[in-house]
Symmetry: C2
């Protein structure tokens, strides 16, 4: 069966996010001064062929650990969609 | 009040996603052959100062339209977290 898994990869909470800061400044200069903080990460959707939800999740977890996220700077969260 | 809003920016469904394809090939060469499709977008978290959920959402929508997403290649979805 095909499972849709979403992986959210974000910069670690205690690290600065210069890309987010730049976007926040951009939004501010567009008049959106009420946006106080911006953090930018990756949103990855995977289609995984697996026999169970557990197998799909564990494949996504392995993908996150081996390739999708850099643990020095990022953390990731997995969510099964369907 | 501070609202946390998540904005998901993804490549349009009918467009190729070369970055996703490259990652899929990388996962495959790491032995994860059961991952059949990968699409990569951005996950943006915004902290918005607003008096109501509606105001926070409309600020996020404006940010998405004006800066966060390129409508030629991307669509975005907004989700209020707290």
């Amino acid at each position: 069966m095909l499972y849709n898994v979403q992986v959210k990869v974000m910069p670690l909470k205690n690290l600065l996010d210069p890309q987010g800061k730049a976007v926040q400044n951009g939004l501010s200069s567009l008049g959106l001064n009420n946006i106080k903080d911006v953090r930018i990460g990756k949103h990855i959707t995977l289609q995984i062929e697996a026999i169970s939800e557990e197998e799909a999740k564990s494949a996504a977890d392995e993908a996150g650990k081996k390739l999708l996220a850099n643990p020095v700077m990022e953390y990731f969260e997995i969510e099964l969609v369907n």
